[in-house]
């Protein structure tokens, strides 16, 4: 176990990840470390001849269209041995600044490779034929399971790791090593050995006959994960070729079997195999629609490193490119770890160890949310004021997520997970630790980026625990037309004529006018198919932007007129008028026991109003007057199925709706 976890966490019993036939039970907390030793800087291992990294943009040459034409080698003394592409624009990869990777983009319409390759005859790159070589490649690919419909059927998606490169006549060899996928129907025709819906490493002795590329038992055990550190290790003395994927050895074979004349080169890209035109592949020369593949770092040595050097180098790459993939995991079922395939960064391990708590713990009734605006109120006298919005994250949002009825083991796991979230490494410059991605509760967004704030644990009885996690979403913006925290597709559907709408349906009316465009709520009791006059701005419209929801019967409306009370010395108190607009209402209203649909509509309304935007609301009898309000605070509790409580605070605004202009991100739906 990492020393930090052992000393900093308040829960005990955290198990180390181990591959030596160790059994884990569901809800065990498991500390996963890639390798318990330290990483090593690649230059500190002798024999370094290739180091392609993305640490800064100086390592690239871009052509006029911004595509990469050269990826410079950062290995000391090998600055001339770079990866190139001087072909047409469409075949060059791009630099993706979001992922900080070299991205080879698949595009069947281009009909050309998208790749980088070493120069002809580059001795270090082609040296795999004759000497000890090893490569460490960090890459990530999109799903290989899509397939591409071409003449004759579906062709699999695949990407090359080692290219046999028989187009390069000076280094021609026999063999192929890559990643390969089959679609879910299993209908791809280019490799019959691949199970439907799978994606795997493929090694083949014949680069031209991928229809049945060899997948031996050990090799096929290595189902692919989408993010990989692949270590390719060739011992020329023993003619042994080993391949490790995320620490798990996927292949140990004789180079004479699969690479009879050695492997020529390292070509990276989307479709860099040398599959030739033949009857087998129905006259299709190449499958250019291989999946997008991104490369983060490539390191090569002209020697066979020791096992410890391999681990240290992989650790270096893991720490650099797999942030927050180590440390605490929760076992999602009972399993026994017998190999490194059970590490959570491998596909098999990811089925047993997880950091996703949504599928492990039931959120229970009583979940609640609180919203309040950060608006700064400036008073102008006479009841007039202005709300200044300090930033795009206008709302403070706090969610209380209930996890009731937890067993002791579940509570232990959840408390440990909660604490581990504070140890995440940052992925951006702004925060010092990364947020947690998890689902909120109805009707709020799934896959929210949240920060835990505190955890309340209450023991009910032996083996019965209730936990409430209070958290916040930090990066929601009121500039997004989709909304703050209610972004469900049912709420952002555009208005369509002739559609049937029901009461409390929410639609987005795409109109260039700030006043007329935006969200509307359908108030009609009877669902009906609408015509043009019944559209949101039609004369017979039953859509509204007003707050039409009726509060509970037991409401209170305090009237607190503003006045001046002067107390002069030696005389009685004097009451004086304080300008106009004396009655500025400050209401607290409740909407209890509301259905899912009405609660959704109310909350979407408030979400859309962002805590400062104005709306009209008709006071209930006996007042029955329409006034302008904004809602700076509201809260919501999910009480039971189809039962929600909502409390709102409305402040009256003495102004006109039409005077307000809001920025809206939508350009076109």
């Amino acid at each position: 176990m990492s020393k930090f976890i052992n000393t900093q966490f308040s829960v005990s019993g955290i198990k180390d990840f181990d591959v030596n036939n160790v059994s884990y039970e569901k809800y065990d907390l498991v500390d996963y470390q890639y390798y318990t030793g330290n990483g090593v800087n690649p230059v500190d291992i002798s024999g370094l001849f290739a180091w392609f990294k993305t640490d800064d943009l100086n390592v690239f040459d871009f052509d006029a269209s911004g595509r990469i034409s050269v990826w410079y080698n950062s290995a000391p003394g090998h600055s001339a041995e770079n990866l190139y592409n001087y072909d047409g624009d469409g075949s060059k990869p791009v630099y993706n600044n979001t992922t900080n990777a070299v991205q080879c983009i698949a595009d069947v319409s281009q009909g050309i490779y998208n790749q980088l390759y070493p120069p002809n005859g580059s001795p270090n790159f082609s040296g795999l034929i004759t000497g000890d070589r090893c490569w460490f490649v960090v890459y990530k690919f999109d799903s290989l399971r899509a397939g591409n419909l071409q003449a004759g059927g579906y062709f699999a998606n695949y990407s090359t790791i080692i290219n046999t490169d028989n187009a390069n006549t000076s280094t021609i060899s026999t063999g192929f090593f890559g990643v390969y996928g089959n679609n879910i129907n299993g209908s791809e025709i280019t490799n019959f050995n691949l199970e439907p819906g799978s994606q795997r490493f493929v090694v083949d002795s014949d680069p031209n006959q991928l229809t049945a590329a060899s997948i031996n038992t050990d090799f096929s055990a290595a189902n692919l994960f989408n993010k990989n550190i692949v270590s390719i290790l060739k011992n020329n003395t023993t003619t042994n070729l080993r391949v490790r994927n995320n620490g798990f050895q996927t292949l140990s074979t004789n180079t004479a079997v699969f690479f009879a004349t050695g492997c020529a080169s390292l070509r990276i890209g989307t479709a860099g195999n040398s599959k030739i035109l033949s009857a087998v592949n129905y006259g299709v020369n190449y499958n250019y629609d291989a999946s997008n593949i991104s490369y983060y770092e490539i390191i090569g040595y002209s020697k066979m490193p020791t096992d410890e050097e391999v681990l240290k180098l992989e650790k270096y790459l893991f720490e650099k490119h797999f942030k927050n993939d180590d440390n605490l995991y929760i076992a999602s079922d009972d399993f026994t770890s017998v190999s490194y395939a059970y590490a959570p960064i491998n596909l098999t391990g990811s089925l047993h160890l997880t950091k996703n708590i949504d599928n492990l713990f039931n959120k229970t009734y009583g979940c609640s949310a609180n919203f309040s605006t950060k608006a700064i109120k400036t008073n102008y006298g006479d009841g007039y004021f202005l709300n200044v919005i300090p930033n795009a994250n206008n709302l403070s949002t706090n969610f209380s997520i209930n996890y009731e009825g937890l067993t002791d083991k579940q509570a232990h796991a959840l408390a440990g997970y909660f604490q581990s979230s504070f140890e995440n490494e940052p992925l951006t410059m702004a925060d010092s630790y990364e947020n947690v991605s998890m689902d909120l509760f109805y009707p709020y967004r799934n896959d929210a980026k949240i920060y835990f704030e505190n955890l309340d644990h209450k023991s009910i009885d032996s083996n019965i625990n209730n936990i409430v996690i209070n958290c916040t979403t930090a990066y929601d913006s009121n500039l997004n037309y989709r909304g703050y925290s209610i972004t469900d597709t049912s709420a952002i559907r555009p208005f369509m004529l002739n559609n049937v709408y029901n009461k409390h349906d929410v639609i987005y009316y795409n109109n260039p006018s700030v006043i007329n465009g935006g969200y509307y709520w359908y108030t009609g009791d009877v669902s009906t198919s609408l015509n043009l006059s019944q559209s949101p701005t039609g004369i017979n419209s039953l859509f509204t932007k007003s707050f039409y929801f009726k509060p509970d019967l037991d409401f209170a409306i305090p009237l607190k007129p503003r006045f001046l009370k002067n107390e002069y010395e030696m005389t009685s108190v004097v009451y004086e008028q304080d300008g106009i607009n004396k009655n500025i209402l400050d209401l607290s209203l409740s909407f209890t026991n509301r259905s899912d649909k009405e609660a959704f509509a109310v909350l979407k309304f408030l979400d859309d109003r962002c805590g400062f935007k104005l709306f009209e609301f008709t006071l209930p009898e006996p007042y029955n007057k329409q006034l302008t309000f904004y809602c700076p605070e509201w809260s919501h509790t999910y009480k039971f199925k189809d039962n929600h409580d909502i409390n709102v605070k409305f402040l009256e605004f003495k102004g006109k709706l039409i005077s307000d202009v809001y920025f809206n991100t939508i350009i076109k739906l």
Binding site: E404, D408, N593, F640
Partner: protein
């Protein structure tokens, strides 16, 4: 003319085990609240909680007590109950009790809460055949004849025991995932066992010292053939003791014992 179905023999089953049952009753309780709006209109009746069903039955034990009738065990699994041609799923036991008195068969009472469904069939045509267990000879039913209570620490102080009641109860705590009306877990809390023992005069001199007085007793429930059906035990404290006498009556003393059960968390 109204139609009635008369049951001379009741085919009551738990998890398909047949019980020699005298009676079964079920009821349902909804939890709804009216929602009144500010204009005085009634919006709807909102569900505050799920519909909770109750099932109670009385039966004679004709074999060993099955483990799912151990109220205070750590097992939280539900059972299915069948009777009168219907099946009720997700039943959770919350109490089991019985009284042992001279010359009487022992009738056990069990109460369940249920959160599942009733699968109804035509009860007049789909009655399953009774098994031999249901048509058991009277000698095989739980009976007071050989059933006895052992006061291990000898603190009762009675000269003779007339009868005793045994009861074990739990409070059931259902937990629901958001959007669900069927619980993902029904936990047991406040587990208690209690006994009430009726006897005659005291043989001991210190019977008034009941504060904190520990009691351990074993209860051997047997059938008329002296076959042990189940052993119950209570390891608790004396809760109360009384002595009653009236004209033309007999002197009768009562002792009640209670035990609160809890689970050592490190044993989980």
């Amino acid at each position: 003319m109204s139609k009635f179905i008369k049951y001379e023999n009741l085919d009551f089953r738990i998890n398909n085990d047949v019980f020699y049952s005298n009676s079964v009753s079920i009821s349902l309780q909804s939890n709804i609240s009216p929602v009144l709006l500010s204009d005085g209109s009634l919006l709807r009746y909102a569900p505050d909680n799920t519909v909770i069903g109750s099932l109670s039955t009385e039966f004679y034990l004709t074999g060993s007590l099955p483990s799912y009738l151990n109220t205070t065990s750590t097992n939280e699994d539900s059972v299915n109950c069948n009777f009168a041609g219907i099946e009720i799923t997700k039943c959770y036991l919350k109490s089991l009790s019985f009284k042992v008195a001279n010359f009487e068969p022992v009738l056990l009472s069990a109460e369940f809460d249920w959160y599942g469904t009733i699968n109804s069939t035509n009860s007049t045509t789909n009655l399953s055949a009774f098994s031999s267990k249901r048509n058991s000879q009277c000698n095989n039913v739980s009976h007071s004849h050989h059933t006895f209570l052992m006061d291990v620490d000898k603190v009762f102080g009675f000269d003779e025991i007339f009868s005793f009641d045994y009861s074990e109860k739990v409070n059931l705590l259902p937990f629901f995932a958001n959007g669900e009306i069927s619980p993902f877990r029904v936990a047991k809390t406040n587990k208690t066992k209690s006994m009430s023992v009726d006897g005659n005069y005291f043989k001991k001199i210190n019977v008034a010292q009941i504060e904190g007085q520990s009691v351990y007793c074993d209860l051997f429930l047997k059938n008329y053939n002296n076959t042990l059906l189940n052993t119950f035990n209570v390891s608790g404290k004396i809760e109360s003791r009384s002595l009653n006498v009236s004209n033309d009556g007999i002197l009768q003393s009562t002792l009640s014992i209670t035990q609160r059960l809890t689970l050592l968390r490190n044993s989980l």
